[in-house]
């Protein structure tokens, strides 16, 4: 809402510098967002949706009067007299019909005859120009002037162009259309309220008039409309039509029911003065009496306990009275009746806020609260798990990214996920927002592509985010690795990251969480079948990792580079009980380490060997530690070389050579028997 200070001064002189006025308005809740200084200084105010009464110069003058204690001079409206020359039809209300009183609760049609349409006076044009409104002609300018002055939207019709001299407020019918003042043909339907004459729509109610019935230089007789339309209806129609105006803006926020008459009278007076027209008739339909005055009881004790300071009833009454409230003090309470234009005041806290505004929020006391969170149970496990994950990944040189929750269907198709049923956005602004992601992979690939295209190919990313489905959302960890492994400058060659890096990160995460899941080769639609694994615990799926399928990378235009991806389903992991940490005494006795070197069939996983060792090693076998794997050709065909060590130790005594040898032999025999390994 613009506020011309020249115009304001027609009604009130705040006797404040512009800066001081801006400060006072802002601190009273009418934030000044911009100032244009010139012959007329114009402020741009942010008016919150609860204060439609401030969408006019007079409304703002009233507010400034309350803030400063200065008096507002309201414009005088001359006694409106019907011209005695006009009789009959002009004097009845019969020319107005309202189809549904819910859509339009008040309509005043005023007939002014013998007008002379010409330019408005210079001062009026200047006033409107300051407010950003173009001058058109005296009649139209008056409607705009009164709209800005009082906040009541008005419309002037060329009366002689209204078929049958009728005004019918009704819903548009299917197939009807109207060319509005801006020259655009608008298709209408029954969700849109129109003003029609006997034959057709002549205006879209509350939003914009029609071109064919507008005031022109040749107009002789004017029908002036001042009405009250349903706010929701105007709002929906304005959105459906994509058409907003100064009128619709005010109707959407609700205009003052009592202001319908004030606006009609003020405009009628000005029309008589400036167009030479004669008031010849007025019809009014009104479905409810004046807005019912609600009385609100505001206890002084409640004011004090809400604001945290002592309030004198007399002072509180004075502040509210300045704002136009009727107040009586009664037994420790204020009985308050807000003015008709303050529909936002309906309960005691609303009135208390007005008192607080008048005191000034900055002058209210400030103290720390007693914080009592006792009734909120907190499950710390998910949070602890996320802290562990972040710590492991920080230490592993993995950077956290945050990607959009929405993706487009193309990204899904490119990631070989076209058959996943993703939750769909009903009203996306663009295709990039059409789906909620059912997987983290596409958004993470997008982040990788962005960087690769900028020449940044060594990427180590993770994101803790959500995957979304119509029936809920699931917290997920995605890890993406690409490019060279981090090496220090002393190393002679730089190695590329691989699946073992991912496994290492997963393993460390699960170790921190205290879970020992099983990692097994597996197949997934997004991962290269030759290099993919699942993570499970007691058959429950916790996640997967591996090399992203080459076809998918080609779809994303990622060339000459592999991408490794892990996805962990955190929602599945949170409920799992972690290992309870207990101190294990450190043995005072020496450990004996035996290295083992075996040729093992390629398909046998190391995990199997470890299991057999632990099963047959007895209680002196403390750990089995992997050393290295050999995949070259200096070994039996179909085999791989595995080297690991067995550590034997006791907490109570020094182990004898022969008992270690016996245990170790048991292990080797079992391995030979069960897995047909060959000792090297």
């Amino acid at each position: 809402m613009k506020l011309s200070l020249n115009w304001l001064k027609d009604y009130i002189d705040p006797k404040l510098s512009t800066d001081a006025l801006i400060e006072r308005l802002t601190m009273a809740g009418l934030e000044v967002e911009a100032v244009t200084v010139g012959a007329d200084t114009v402020l741009e105010l942010e008016i919150t949706p609860n204060r439609p009464d401030c969408l006019s110069i007079l409304g703002l003058a009233r507010e400034i009067g309350a803030i400063t204690g200065k008096v507002v001079k309201f414009p005088k409206i001359k006694n409106l007299k019907m011209d005695s020359r006009f009789r009959g039809n002009d004097k009845t209300t019969k020319f107005i019909q309202i189809e549904n009183k819910k859509d339009c609760s008040r309509y005043i049609g005023t007939l002014i005859r013998d007008v002379q349409v010409k330019d408005a006076p210079r001062e009026m044009k200047q006033r409107l120009a300051s407010m950003g409104i173009n001058a058109i002609n005296n009649a139209v300018d008056i409607t705009n002037f009164v709209l800005m002055e009082t906040g009541q939207p008005l419309h002037a019709f060329d009366y002689d162009k209204l078929a049958g001299g009728k005004i019918i407020v009704r819903r548009a019918r299917a197939g009807e259309s109207l060319v509005t003042l801006d020259g655009v043909e608008r298709k209408l339907d029954s969700s849109i309220l129109v003003i029609a004459d006997a034959q057709k729509p002549v205006a879209i109610a509350g939003i914009m008039g029609g071109r064919d019935t507008q005031i022109t230089a040749g107009t002789k007789n004017i029908l002036l409309e001042s009405a009250h339309f349903d706010m929701g209806l105007i709002r929906r129609a304005s959105r459906a039509l994509g058409l907003r105006s100064d009128s619709s803006y005010r109707f959407e926020r609700n205009v003052n029911f009592d202001g319908v008459l004030t606006g009609a009278n003020r405009a009628t007076d000005l029309l008589a003065q400036l167009t030479g027209g004669k008031l010849s008739g007025r019809g009014e339909i009104l479905f409810k009496a004046k807005s019912a005055a609600v009385q609100i009881k505001v206890k002084i004790a409640d004011i004090e306990s809400l604001l945290g300071l002592k309030v004198m009833p007399g002072k509180a009454k004075a502040w509210l009275a300045r704002l136009g409230f009727k107040v009586t003090v009664k037994a420790g309470a204020l009985m308050v009746v807000p003015p008709g234009n303050r529909a936002d005041i309906g309960q005691d806290v609303d009135a208390i806020e007005e008192i607080a505004r008048m005191i000034g929020f900055d002058r209210l006391p400030s103290r720390l609260p007693v914080v009592n969170a006792r009734n909120i149970p907190v499950d710390n496990r998910p949070r602890r798990i996320k802290e562990h994950i972040r710590r492991v990944l920080m230490a592993g040189n993995v950077d956290e990214i945050i990607t959009h929750s929405m993706i487009n269907s193309k990204a899904l198709a490119k990631s070989n996920m076209a058959d996943i049923k993703a939750a769909r956005i009903f009203n996306p602004l663009s295709q990039d927002q059409e789906l909620l992601r059912p997987s983290m992979l596409p958004s993470m690939l997008q982040a990788a592509v962005t960087n690769i295209n900028r020449g940044q190919k060594d990427l180590r990313f993770f994101e803790i985010g959500k995957r979304y489905f119509v029936d809920g959302e699931k917290e997920t960890l995605g890890i993406l690795l690409a490019g060279r492994r981090h090496d220090d400058w002393r190393a002679s060659k730089k190695e590329q990251v691989g699946i073992s890096d991912l496994k290492g990160l997963c393993q460390r995460i699960f170790h921190e969480i205290g879970i020992s899941p099983v990692y097994e080769t597996n197949q997934f639609p997004v991962l290269d079948p030759a290099c993919a694994a699942s993570i499970t615990l007691n058959g429950k799926y916790l996640g997967s990792f591996g090399r992203v399928d080459r076809k998918i990378l080609n779809n994303w235009d990622i060339k000459n580079q592999e991408i490794y991806y892990a996805g962990l389903h955190l929602d599945e992991i949170y409920p799992l009980p972690g290992k309870v940490l207990k101190y294990r005494p450190i043995s005072e006795f020496p450990a004996i380490v035996r290295d083992v070197s075996l040729a093992v069939k390629k398909e046998i996983p190391y995990r199997k060997i470890e299991e057999i060792c632990l099963k047959h090693g007895g209680d002196i076998l403390r750990s089995v530690d992997f050393i290295e794997q050999y995949l070259g050709d200096k070994i039996q065909p179909g085999c791989k070389g595995l080297v690991f060590s067995c550590l034997y130790q006791s907490n109570t005594r020094t182990l004898r050579e022969d008992e270690v040898t016996a245990a170790h032999e048991r292990i080797l025999q079992a391995l030979t028997r069960d897995l047909a390994v060959i000792r090297r």
Binding site: T26, M27, G29, E31, P49, M231, R236, E252, S305, L306, L307, G308, V349, E353, F361, D362, L364, S366, R367, L368, V371, N372, A373, R374, N375, I376, V378, M394, A395, N397, D399, E400, I401, I402, T403, H404, S405, M406, A423, I425, F426, N427, L429, Q433, L436, A447, T450, N451, R454, L459, R460, F461, F462, K466, V470, G472, E473, H486, D488, W489
Partner: protein, 337 residues
Amino acid sequence: MQWNFQDIHNQAQSEAQAINGPQALEAFRLKYLGKKGIVAAVFASLGQAQPADKAAIGKGANDLRALVESLIAAKSTGINSAKSQEESMDISLPGTGEALGHTHILTQTMQEIIAVFEQMGFVTIETPEIETEFHNFTGLNIPIDHPSRDAFDTFYLDAEDPSAKGRRLLLRSHTSPGQVRIMKKHKPPMAVIVPGRVYRPDAVDASHSFMFHQVEGLLVDEKVQFSELKGLLTEFCRRFFGPKVIMRFRPHFFPFTEPSAEVDINAEILGIQRKKWLEILGCGMVNPKVFEAVGYPKGKYKGFAFGMGVERMAMLKYGINDIRLFYENDVRFLKQF
């Protein structure tokens, strides 16, 4: 056994010249001075030597040892042994070891905000991003077709709300629905922080994103005052922006709080010149209509709530001028924080 000491001396000298590293030096030492080395062999041969030769052989062995020792001593100072390499290292070279990963600046900012309130006794709860109209609007006193909904423009899902026939599910447009959920489930007293992602169909530019993050706070008890809201947020701003921050509380409007305020801080504290005040958060006393909507007994409880945008806080604090940088994930951005 005859020893040609002259040849041995010549050979040792030429071998010593060829020594190019610590390993070669060690091999050289072993060859001449080791247990099975040449010097040892010479001494061992004394047993079988003619008595007349013994003195010459003994002297030859001692001379050879002295020569080799002096050659080793001369060579080892010149040789780049591991130890000497370390001692002569250019200490201005970068150190080695795995680099550290970086937490996203939005996560860091969010954690910093949450930590301040947790230190003061609040607990953190996350609530869903896919929400119902009741939680996002109705329960918060935001009626359908009311202009106050404009501020919370919303993405709807192509899916029906199972709890409200004919109404769609939506993506929460603010974290305030968390208030409704938590109050529906729990009785006061409570003091909670609700962080998370929110969504609004805004066209993307340097200061708008259709997805961003908020942190919501809610405190409900039987006696809660506006002055306590002021006190808490003042303490928050001091801890987050520094003790010299200047704040102002400006009346504002939110359907779910009454009175409502916006908080500004002085731009100067962040070195910003173009403006005097920067809006950082919205707050207010919980509107009794919200208590009514969650089923609390009329008039029994009071409370306050506040909400702030994490992107905005991070942009102000770190001088980030384009909101899109947060979600683009350029490593040159990520690694700065």
